[in-house]
Symmetry: none
Subunit: 226 residues, 2 copies
Amino acid sequence: MNKSKILLVDDEPDILELIGYNLEKEGYEVHTASNGREAVNLARKIVPDLILLDVMMPEMDGMEACREIREDPQLRHALIAFLTARNEDYSQIAGFDAGADDYIPKPIKPRVLISRIKALLRRSAGVPESTSPLPAQIGISIDKEKYLVYKDGEELSLPKKEFELLVLLISQPGRVFTRDHILASVWGNDVIVGDRTIDVHIRKLREKLGDDYFKTIKGVGYKFEP
Amino acid sequence: MNKSKILLVDDEPDILELIGYNLEKEGYEVHTASNGREAVNLARKIVPDLILLDVMMPEMDGMEACREIREDPQLRHALIAFLTARNEDYSQIAGFDAGADDYIPKPIKPRVLISRIKALLRRSAGVPESTSPLPAQIGISIDKEKYLVYKDGEELSLPKKEFELLVLLISQPGRVFTRDHILASVWGNDVIVGDRTIDVHIRKLREKLGDDYFKTIKGVGYKFEP
DNA sequence: TTTTTGCATTAATGATGTCTTAACCTTATT
DNA sequence: AATAAGGTTAAGACATCATTAATGCAAAAA
């Protein structure tokens, strides 16, 4: 497997150095940022597998950064772990609600941190996650940058939700995505929508791109097939 | 989606009650055990999605139980989180090495716990088990991601229950699964169905895949054999 | 600001496939 | 032969999804 990319974010250079050193020693590809704003921008560029976020930072704090990251479809599946002073129960809760996957207490003990990171990455391993340009080939292709879809050369412009749903499904053609997965990916984890919302969007896609591309697996979810 | 099953293990009845209550309130299906031995046995029966394990317990402690659970192929993919007194750094490390997915410090604050559980389950929901096709080889093979079954190259799409039943049986070819085990795995523990339900589904599988693959062990259960 | 437009969501209804049941049949075991 | 366990079948109950139209909302245009 490729090296996992970790984005380490803290405003204290000492911490960046100490932790960064230890992570690199473990074979991770480490990038660093010293505030939330910088972190979000860098994350968009490098698309890390895991983001370690200090909660307290100037410019933009960790929780705020976390929310922003979670809103980017590219980064929605990145793991996010908070680094925070212990006994900050409030931030602990808020952190998770903002979409974090773990919470790591300061002061950080490198060995503990490594164990924990391994556990986190172990979980998400095996999810290819289309970082790269999408498989064009068949009938339908996508240009994420331009937010455009091509069907037999014809250029289509889809609304946001439809587009994101399509991107998700087409990212792994043939694979079934459960409704829960779709909701988590396209809508986000804390958005609550009714039962029929996904169906309607699927229908729009079928209408615009052809029924045959989208297969329903009853009780499970949907998949895209060429 | 089905309710997630959580197995809660602690030797203090008060904890079981408090945490159990809160988890049920969140819509989880909760089972409890008060020591490691009991936990392992119960886990084999109900096949939980997540196991919350106290570290310090009589009879068999959490770490030992964790190791044993990880050795059962049925349970290999269950999430395991340790509950332990804070500042026990050693057990923290050892816990992860035993194959745990998270570490939750006591005293437990219900809201914190819930957040964390959600994060854990959210993660694993997006990873529907092994990324790659199962055992495969001759005759019949399965692709869980695509929800497809291949019989001599031919592609079949089975309904949910049939598919899940097949996945269970084929996960350990040759092994006999009792009716109870099948019910717990495929139907869930609180679902009550009649005596003939399993038979009917087995029959459908035999119809579609060939009689020879599914052997009945009278008075015991069924097994898949290549 | 007001109007307009288009998207996201919901609600209501209809269609379809899946699951379960019930009644009866078959087979092995004693 | 009697019994218990499972096999078979078809019909009805049930769950899930498809479809459509209407609503609310927010961004863009006037």
